[in-house]
Subunit: 216 residues, 2 copies
């Protein structure tokens, strides 16, 4: 009985995700779902991406958090349209939340929509939002074993951004072991090593993002 209810919820979510994607496509907006553990640096990556694309691509942002508006205030400070979703306790964004958020964004003035999911390496993997691309943000201090411990997220993603490479000298983290762990779950994943603190590697990540947008 519980399983049936869950199936209905997921079915309804997928239907709404398809509607979201149709709306995005109508406005030529390419949407990316950014997922990560709390504190991996999703907001920092959003900020660095906005800076790198300034004058080239018009970015819009949806910020997902259980509570607070810190992150959307940071983003708004960059002069970018942003909608904050406070889930109030829900551990992930879903397609209906995105549907409401899209109503509040100037889609005609946006080329790239960055959706920052709730910080959680498990639950967001199960909910399509209507995005064109799913990206996992991992970070060096979390350790190189995360793809093995949280495989679902890496299985459904199109790319991994490994953030905080500036901390590599100070923590135990084997980049080869991390890459091997990622490949063990999903051979097709592109991996980008970046530091949002120093800016290292952001150019490669942004080039990839632009190529994905071209291929849409």
């Amino acid at each position: 009985m519980e399983i049936k209810v869950l199936k209905d919820i997921l079915g309804a979510n997928d239907q709404m995700a398809r509607n979201n994607q149709q709306l995005l496509d109508k406005h030529n907006v390419f949407a990316v779902n950014l997922m990560a553990s709390p504190g991996a640096g999703k907001t920092s990556l959003v900020l660095e991406t906005i800076k790198a694309l300034q004058g080239k691509v018009r970015v819009g942002v949806i910020e997902g958090d259980i509570s607070s508006t810190f992150d959307s205030e940071l983003i708004a400070g960059q002069g970018v349209p942003v909608v904050q979703i406070n889930t109030g306790g829900e551990c992930h964004l879903d397609a209906s939340m995105i549907c409401n958020a899209l109503d509040n964004l100037p889609l005609a003035d946006i080329d790239l929509l960055l959706v920052e999911n709730v910080g959680n390496l498990v639950c967001p993997a199960e909910f399509n939002l209507g995005e064109h691309c799913k990206v996992v943000v991992a970070s060096v201090p979390e350790g190189d074993d995360k793809p093995i411990k949280y495989p679902a997220m890496f299985l459904i993603a199109n790319a991994v951004v490994l953030n905080k490479t500036d901390l590599l000298p100070y923590v135990k983290f084997d980049s080869d072991r991390f890459r091997e762990a990622v490949r063990g779950v999903n051979r097709k994943l592109d991996i980008f090593e970046v530091s949002c603190t120093t800016g290292d590697g952001i150019d490669r990540w942004v080039s990839w993002l632009l190529s994905q947008m071209g291929r849409k």
Copy 2:
């Protein structure tokens, strides 16, 4: 309708959690539920706690992971009884999983049971396991705003361990701001700053743990 199903599940979980606690009390076992984001250092804290209590307190461990047995192998290497729970996708431990694990632990030979939950700063907060004490492990690289963004976890906890203080020189993290954020959610929380890499602060954390066991 869905809400009713959820209520039933939580009710059943609480009942089973009470049964678990009765079994633990019968054997004079004090149980701690350790919760954190992925990679905050729960396993490292378990290992440091085992070392600090060697010859004083007999420790047992339940390791919760979606998949893999890495952590339980590390723990078993310390000569401590350990049971690995692989949730297979579930984003948190629940009382029935703990009930099964307790059946496989030598409770008569254990004084302190450390339960490492699935790495997730949201969902584990909702499920009692039968523990006597809930502890959140936060870590410096995650940032000082986590109590504000994930308040439920800090609201239900008895203590916070702030791990990875050895990284304070290399990241933006304001300890006063963190403490203020914790107090804003829950005034009664004890906060312990530790580094499982250098061993700093472990003594204070372990003293507190021993005092809690005495007060049980």
